[in-house]
Amino acid sequence: MKQPKKVLACVDQSPYADYVADYSAWVAQKFNLPLELLHIIDRHQETATSDDHSGAIGFDAQENLLNRLAEEEGERTRATREQGRIFLNDLKKRCEHHQGLSVDVRQRYGQLLETLDEQQQDVALYVLGRRGKSADQSQRDLGRHVESISRKIRRPILTVANTFAEPKNVLVAYDGKRMTRKCVSLLAGNAALTDLPVHVVMSGKQNGEADKHLEWASSTLAKSGFEVETAYLPGDPEQQIPQAIADREIDMLVMGAYSRSPLKSLFLGSKTNELLRASKVPTVTVHL
């Protein structure tokens, strides 16, 4: 991994933005990293609405249309730019309550996914809201961007819900496979987090390897000074993990993400998505 540089909080003008800001400020302070609040203005140039169904072209049709479109877009952009700036500055103030945190704001044109992807080099951790601006209109309980971002971005992503509570403990959803082992190693590598007790929970079909895997996880974490608790809960992980979160009053979930290919998850479903939907706590997904 290249030198991680900042915590990038991706905000849009939705109620989630406040909590994204809260969590990212908390994380940034914990790791002592600079925080950047990023607001992306997607001009949606691939979409358009028009009431003009006249189908007529007259004198200078092309020039008139070009001028009209340029003017409309310019106006729209100016409005969103200013609105976004005010919005970002309010969020910045909210974050600056945290002591010694450096907060920067930035607005960029472009599409969400591409813009986040371009930044990867300079980012240690992304923070997203689990839903966004369109949350009120759509019935989804998980924003449509979360999966595509998580699949594309090779950095840990913290997805937050619309409450903030300072995390006091962490649960790692563990299956002994590559992605979740990475979660464990990643966690073990962060001395800043050792004050959070870690629960490593494994679930799924009974297999003989489970103990060995859990033992590896627990020893890896303990070596780095974490307080570890392990458990094996037989049964369906999509039910067992949320249950464990509720039972143990967990504040934050860490899991490997999207180890199934998009094609496979089309048929089999994605465990990651189901867990993201089921768990109400902020979740760090790791897809390295």
């Binding site: 140039q45 691939e46 979409t47 028009s50 006249s54 189908g55 595509s148 290919s261």
Partner: protein, 516 residues
Amino acid sequence: MRITIHSARWAVSPWQSGAPFYWSFMNKLRQEWFSNIRSDLLAGLVVALALIPEAIAFSIIAGVDPRVGLYASFCIAVVIAFAGGRPGMISAATGAMALLMVTLVKEHGLEYLFAATILTGILQIIAGWIRLGELMRFVSRSVVTGFVNALAILIFMAQLPELIDVPYAVYVMAAAGLGIIYGLPFITRVVPSPLVAIVLLTAVSIYFGIDVRTVGDMGDLPSTLPVFLIPDIPLNLETLEIIFPYAVTLMVVGLLESLMTATIVDDLTDTTSNKSRECMGQGVANIASGFLGGMAGCAMIGQSVINVKSGGRGRLSTLSAGIFLLLLLLFFSDWVRQIPMAALVAVMIMVSIGTFNWDSIRSLRTHPPSSSVVMVVTVAVTVSTHDLAQGVLSGVLLSGFFFAQKVGRILVIRSQSENEGRVRTYTVLGQVFFASADRFAQSFDFKEVIDTVRIDVSRAHFWDITAVSALDKVVLKFRREGADVEVIGLNEASATMVDRFGLHDKDGAEDLLLPQ
């Protein structure tokens, strides 16, 4: 430890590289197809309604049944929606292409047209493959303007037969049609005004039983979906000899108009397009059209503007335009048959007005004369030959000529006598090539009585053989007068002659362009 070793091996799982590609593909797919569904479908419908009269009119221009142009429009729109490089651009049977086929159809028949269409497609794919589209940069703005103006004039002229020697009612209907098409958008923009004009005029002519020519008189309309057919022609060299010249011109004009239109749509939507893919897409679309009983087509400037204006942005708009076109025809062909030609003429006159670049007339006086001449020549050649390829070629050649002439003027030769009148030094600054070589040679005073002539060309560019031989001649002439000649800096000056130069920029080269 065991686990770390394993993870190193698994780190190169195929999904690591495959998934992001797949994901960006899905993203692109959604962006180009499904991000603007409602507007795209509506725009597609508006475009389809506007396409029907145009496709019929262009078939008539080409001298084939309306069926041929309508099938072509359907095939091309549908295929280009998938294969094209410019989402939101409308391609179908066009006037520019139709004009080129007239003789082929007249002399050899429809089957040869299908074959030529397929060959055009193949040539376009090759052109896209070898990135012929990049040659578009030699087509100057004036030529492009000339192209659209010529196209507008030709479309207008093609309507004249319908307006000459016809009953009085036709003029009334055409005028009424024009009035509706032009005026209705000022009142409402909810319904396409050309559609209203056509429906009203058709209704009036049926109701009053006015005896005017209708679309049905012009030939067959589609009654079924197009079927696959192989052109019924002998597959031999003779056939190729007949269709090849047509296919080449069709390829050139098709690509020209398509790339021009793509640029227009790029500008309108402030997005970019893949020009090579567009060339190949046009080829695939034409091949499909040829095999399904359609004529060759290309992108349409007017329709693409209408599409963007109506909110069409994605590939879905193009696809739906094609599908709506065919559906409308299959359901309403009995009505389409009865559309009076006068209504069609009105629509096409409006199309030609919309295509024409009126600003180019207003700016004739303000633009430099050379670019106005290029524009006018492009128009004149096109209108007189009915061949846009020839028009564009003349325009391009003429603009090259004017450019050479202008650059040739950037040549300054100064002289100074030295050493008490024994030596004269000529300093050459600027561009020496075929267009300026004569002036270069004339700038020396051969009658001067002098011992030594020094010619400093280190701050000049010698672009071609003509320039070097002009210098040779000058040297020879001075020698004949008994003077010694020294040429300074010839190596630097002639470095530009190497065909693959590029970075031979010399100190001071830029101030040659400033007044000295």
